[in-house]
């Protein structure tokens, strides 16, 4: 039993890593733009579809282009639609992006059809590691390492580069940033594209594990929202901690009470919000309070 629990704990950490990657783009878009992006799951699915399509035509290296393309689609949509929402009530952005999610899912069904697209991990990442009692697959380990690398790069970018400083300042006082001569609209377009591209990376990485079909987005959007809420709206480290915790909670529930595994993340979120209404590392946002 101990070895199974250790295996489940390691598995929960790896699953949490994937959840973090799904949620972090949502957290960035909310934290820097103040947009509740309900279409986040659709960009996740778009990443998977672009990845599968590029792979089938050009092989594995081309898959790397999928997040770039999704980022460009995100930037185009930001220019067409999302930027109109910056000065609106948060509820408006929720409704508009929900409609966008439905449209993107319908478009996916029209272009690729309703049938799931077969896609598996590359052969060099097939197989499992056995470290004593702990089993981890090579592919999930690679996903975890990729997630850590992306998080570190993202953190360093936001923390140490001038561009990152503009983003952080713009998220709190856009008027002041504008007065300093910085063209914030372009910056915001790039941020939305970045959030979509990170969702797409998660989609590409999830594609060999999940069924790539038009409903794929539904499996991503709710965990993403739960994690961002538990972590604290817009908090980068909060989303990381929450993602890993949710991974562990879900995995351990499967071990001891599998029937409750679908509901457990919501129960966990309710408990966290009872104790800390702004989430684990949430701050006060004047715009939303």
């Amino acid at each position: 039993m101990t070895s199974l629990l250790l295996s489940q704990a390691a598995n929960g950490l790896v699953l949490g890593g994937l959840y973090v990657l799904i949620a972090i783009g949502l957290s960035i878009i909310f934290g820097l733009l103040g947009i509740v992006n309900f279409a986040h799951g659709a960009f996740f699915a778009m990443g998977a579809y672009f990845g599968v399509t590029l792979y089938s035509h050009f092989g594995w290296p081309a898959v790397l282009l999928a997040p770039v393309l999704v980022g460009l689609v995100g930037m185009a949509l930001e220019r067409l639609l999302i930027h109109h929402l910056y000065d609106k009530e948060p509820l408006v952005s929720l409704i508009v992006t929900f409609a966008l999610a439905l449209m993107l899912e319908a478009a996916t069904r029209m272009i690729w059809g309703g049938l799931g697209l077969p896609f598996n991990q590359p052969s060099f990442l097939s197989g499992i590691f056995l470290w004593g009692p702990v089993l981890i697959t090579r592919y999930r380990f690679a996903v975890f390492v990729t997630t850590v690398a992306i998080l570190v790069l993202l953190w360093a970018f936001l923390r140490f580069t001038p561009y990152g400083r503009i983003l952080r300042a713009g998220s709190r006082d856009p008027e002041m940033v504008g007065l300093l001569g910085i063209r914030l609209p372009r910056v915001l377009t790039a941020v939305f594209g970045l959030g979509c591209a990170i969702a797409a990376i998660a989609g590409v990485l999830a594609a060999p594990l999940w069924t790539v079909d038009p409903t794929m987005s539904e499996g991503a959007i709710m965990p993403a929202f739960v994690i961002v809420t538990i972590g604290g709206l817009g908090s980068f480290p909060g989303a990381v901690i929450a993602g890993l915790l949710v991974g562990e909670v879900v995995t351990m529930t499967v071990q001891f009470a599998p029937g409750a595994s679908g509901a457990v993340m919501y129960i966990f979120m309710a408990l966290v919000l009872l104790l800390r209404p702004r989430g684990l590392l949430g701050e006060r946002w004047e715009r939303f309070e």
Partner: protein, 413 residues
């Protein structure tokens, strides 16, 4: 948008291979007597999921229905037939759309029922609204068992019957089983039916997990299965089967412990991909089965021509269920619901030899036991047919159970 009418594309499909000829062969060219009030097209409702993970299966059910419609030249008794496709977004949504089809669209009968949960609700609506309902996919046992009614006819083999057909095969692999079933009507039905048979045969349940529908990650379940070391995993995952099998392979389980399930769709396995697909399943039809009748082979050829891909088992189910309804309306020479029900009870397909049983309105069909090929040659050709059950068609009635065993007490129409 919730409804789709196929009337606009009627002419495009009219020319489909041998369609009109087949219609003539079924005797549909005869004069058609109808009540004066029923002038205009014959409207038939189609209730199949347009969204959700089951939508891939329903798409093929609709393909099959369209082929059956093309076979009769889109006409019954000289009157054009109009199909109206409504969604089954949820159990409640399916009920609402059933009522809408009857009350507002004035359909004379309804085909559909992709998920067991929706189909059970639709069956109750059929009884209340007194409208013929032919269920083409759902396999929940109680549909033609304790919930049966005189307005409902069902094609798919009930879960408990499939279990009786399939369990002896699976027990050949050993009697230590792990159950992994979805937490809704279909999964619960599978668990209940197989557990009863396993216990009766002296087998052991080494694990029993109910999985929330639309689960995206199966790794924690697979770790439990790996630790339990069963002889067989009995799944009941419906639309989540592909996700589970992809992760089953990813976690190195393919070929280590056999995986099986009943009532799957070819589309489930097509979504898994040749690298990860595995398992032993029951199926009603396989497009490469040499035992297919000439009419079935013609349907498969039409499917390829019309939709550019091979017919799936669900295409056949949509086609066969629609044929039963279209031929029965033609035989009734009326769109009166009582007359259609009476004709469905007497109906016998001249080309495939199938019919509905009188006392529970269950179609009696043999099942195929199919196994995923060791080496899959292309993206469609996944299965070897390893048996037809029951072996002897004469045993069908017994396998499907007597009236007392089935528990159907049909209320009068």
């Amino acid at each position: 948008m919730t409804s789709t009418s196929f009337a606009a594309t009627r002419r495009q499909v009219l020319g489909t291979a041998g369609a009109v000829g087949a219609g003539a062969a079924t005797g549909l060219g005869m004069p058609f007597i109808r009540p004066a009030a029923a002038a205009g097209p014959i409207r038939i409702g189609l209730l199949e999921a347009k969204t959700g993970s089951i939508a891939a299966q329903s798409q093929y059910l609709v393909y099959g229905t369209k082929i059956a419609l093309a076979e009769i030249g889109h006409k019954i008794g000289g009157r054009p037939v109009e199909l109206l496709w409504y969604d089954e977004p949820s159990t409640q949504g399916a009920e609402q759309n059933f009522r809408k089809l009857v009350k507002e669209e004035k359909v004379v009968a309804i085909l559909g029922g992709t998920l067991s949960s929706s189909a059970l609700a639709e069956e109750a609506q059929a009884q209340e609204l007194k409208i013929p309902y032919v269920c083409n996919n759902a396999a929940a046992t109680e549909m033609t068992g304790k919930n049966c009614n005189s307005w409902t006819f069902r094609l798919n083999t009930p879960v408990d019957v499939q279990a009786r057909m399939f369990a002896p095969f699976l027990m050949g692999y050993g009697k230590k089983w792990y159950f992994l079933t979805a937490n809704y009507a279909f999964g619960q039905d599978i668990a209940k039916s197989f557990k009863k048979l396993l216990k009766a045969a002296g087998g052991t349940i080494v694990g029993d997990d109910t999985v929330p529908l639309n689960t995206a990650d199966y790794s924690a379940y697979i770790l439990k299965i790996r630790a339990a070391k069963p002889d067989m995993v009995l799944g009941g995952l419906a639309g989540d089967l592909a996700t589970c099998l992809k992760q089953w392979d990813e976690m190195g389980m393919r070929g280590k412990i056999p995986f099986s399930e009943i009532a799957i769709g070819d589309t489930d396995l097509w979504a898994v991909g040749p690298k990860a697909a595995t398992g032993l399943y029951t199926s009603l039809w396989w497009y490469k089965n040499p035992a297919n009748t000439p009419a079935e082979k013609r349907m498969a050829a039409d499917h390829l021509k019309m939709f550019g891909k091979p017919a799936a088992d669900k295409s056949w189910m949509g086609w066969q269920a629609a044929r039963s309804l279209f031929q029965s309306i033609a035989a009734a020479k009326s769109t009166d619901p009582h007359a259609i029900v009476a004709a469905l009870e007497k109906w016998h397909d001249p080309d495939t030899g199938v019919s509905y049983r009188g006392f529970d309105h269950q179609m009696l069909l043999s099942n195929l036991v199919v196994q995923v090929k060791k080496k899959i040659p292309n993206k469609w050709d996944y299965f070897d047919v390893i048996a037809t059950v029951p072996k002897n068609k004469a045993d069908l009635n017994a396998v499907y159970g007597t009236a007392a065993e089935v528990g159907c007490h049909m209320p009068p129409a």
